[in-house]
Symmetry: C2
Subunit: 369 residues, 2 copies
């Protein structure tokens, strides 16, 4: 029986608690959070065995301490832990979005012989509170472990203990340095958010001087700017905790834009075509790699009215025929009226079978040719 302290009871902390609980029902799990409602919810729903306002109230009993607050809070609480008498074998870890500041701060713990392992599970959700906690939130997601402190046998065996504790999360472990981590997330997460928000701001700014509005914006603009709806507070924190690297990425991206601009100014058709073509090849290959995304040729399209039963009819036909639908999506082609239902299948046979069944039942189906 181990004692786990989870510091920060949001979506990630709560989901981690649930996954540990399911895998290790005998372990004791305590949560720390300033939000009493979150603590009460977690206790009454059996996620944790007790809740505390301050990490000092419970950390001394812990075999594992999981710091699951925003990075700025993680840094503060690492200092508080350094002033406490922790169990000698305690393993301290975190799940912060950026890693260099955390790993630098970790020195105050490792200097005292406390084992610290930095971590970052790459999962997100539309929800951010413990109310949405799920044991399977991270399933098949990448979970970065930071190699910087993994310098001896003691840390290697601590990683094994941590991975065992968190084995219920069912993640793909990825060892990486703090530097490399912060560069990668700057590239594939932070820069995209900056770009999306910038595009929205610029468009709003330009259109505010015209009688037109962003209502005109069709599907392409909408999909590229969707993440601009993210939490400003969280993203301000993330940018400030990874500022140099993000600065470099912005610079690199600006250079790329300036190259395209030059190619356009010079009417360099080949350069422009190559730019779009190489992006298409890469982007299509991501779709193929990810199980949930399938190539277009396993998709069918059906015009449906937005009314009770239209989607149910389609899915019911496929269910009866025992055909596995791997995704279903109403395309955002028009604003207020009918939808186009996109049905995705995992292979050619399912697609052909589905098309046959749907046509036999009188539906007009496009695709699969």
């Amino acid at each position: 029986m181990k004692t786990i302290v989870i510091d920060g009871l949001g979506l990630i902390g709560g989901s981690t608690a649930l996954a540990i609980r399911q895998k290790w029902p005998d372990h004791q799990i305590f949560a720390v959070d300033v939000n009493d409602i979150a603590l009460e919810f977690a206790q009454s729903h059996g996620l944790v065995d007790g809740g505390f306002d301050r990490i000092q109230d419970i950390a001394a009993t812990a075999d594992f301490i999981i710091l699951a607050a925003p990075v700025s809070i993680i840094l503060e609480h690492m200092e508080q832990l350094a002033e406490m008498q922790l169990k000698p074998d305690v393993i301290v870890t975190d799940v912060g979005s950026t890693k260099r500041q955390v790993m630098a701060k970790a020195k105050i713990l490792t200097d005292q012989g406390i084992i610290f392992i930095g971590g970052h599970p790459m999962a997100g959700s539309h929800k951010t509170t413990v109310l949405a906690a799920r044991a399977d939130l991270f399933q098949s997601a990448y979970y970065f472990l930071i190699s910087d402190t993994i310098t001896d046998q003691q840390h290697r065996s601590a990683i094994k203990s941590l991975q065992s504790l968190l084995s219920g999360l069912d993640v793909k472990w990825q060892l990486i340095s703090a530097l490399q981590h912060d560069r990668v997330v700057a590239l594939i997460s932070h820069l995209p958010h900056i770009i999306a928000s910038g595009l929205v701001n610029m468009s709003q700014d330009e259109l505010s001087h015209s009688p037109l509005s962003l209502k005109l914006a069709a599907g392409g603009f909408r999909s590229i700017t969707r993440i601009a709806s993210s939490d400003p507070e969280m993203w301000t924190d993330i940018l400030l905790s990874n500022s140099n690297t993000i600065g470099d990425k912005i610079e690199h991206f600006v250079r790329i834009l300036q190259q395209v601009r030059q190619a356009i100014a010079q009417s360099d058709r080949d350069a422009i075509w190559n730019y779009f073509y190489s992006a298409k090849i890469t982007r299509d290959s991501i779709n193929t790699q990810a199980g949930r995304h399938v190539p277009n040729f396993y998709d069918l399209f059906i015009n449906i009215p937005d009314q009770v039963g239209a989607i149910a009819k389609v899915t019911h036909i496929l269910e009866e025929a025992k055909i596995n639908l791997i995704n279903i999506h109403i395309l955002e082609i028009r604003e207020e009226t009918d939808g186009v239902l996109q049905l995705s299948f995992s292979n050619q046979k399912d697609l052909i079978d589905a098309k046959g069944e749907l046509q036999r039942r009188g539906l007009s189906v496009v695709g699969g040719d």
Copy 2:
């Protein structure tokens, strides 16, 4: 009875033919295309009454000529029309993606007293050929009409005739100058495509030097880069036909990125927060304006396994309860395993009713609180 010639039988030309046919069954519709298969398909499916390889073969009989090829072809065919003896009252229009080049070329027609009205319906689709043609492709979309040639009563009445001919499209008409049009589409369509492709290329380039790959990229990166999968040929054409304006937009966007970069370098928390906050406000308001997008609080979320019947069960329950589901979407949170089904409703009552029904049937539902 009028004679309509549609030059270019792709998705837009074909859908326009269908919409005219439904609204005006007595009109004769002829198509021009170099692709014999497209012509045969359109004839055999009753979209058009005849097909021709060259616009010279049929244009002389037309009361309306709709140029629906790519811009570079539209420009060529305008020159060919200028050399022909057309009906004196013919109305020539186009549906090209950019408008300044077309309107400049229109002079060779208007100098001869031929009425030309530039147009651009703002609808897209996942498909590009006549096989996907639908009479309702443009329903509720914006259809730009270019004001540059609307200088006298003759042109004003020609616009009325054209709008009447195309009334089956059920679009929102928007009068705009060619210059303003090309600026707006550069902003809300062309720049986003350049950005998405640039982000993909940069990420691929940087990750090619590391053991990691774009497989790591989670939902945010994927949604912002989805349009990078578009047709390189078409986008090269579009960029070259709107090069100066796009150059300006790239410059403006680069300035915005450099401002954020400076705010990050100076750890200017307020500036960064405002950047993300204003983008969020604007982006959320687009969602609210567009009928298909509803605010998050009318959404429910259900964990479902990727298996036969899971989606059908949910939609069947809603159908039985006569609750109108306006969208359904499997969230791309994880790659290979369970899905989270996002159900969107148009109002609070439907959401509450749906949640009750689904819970009563044993499903674990999150949202609507």
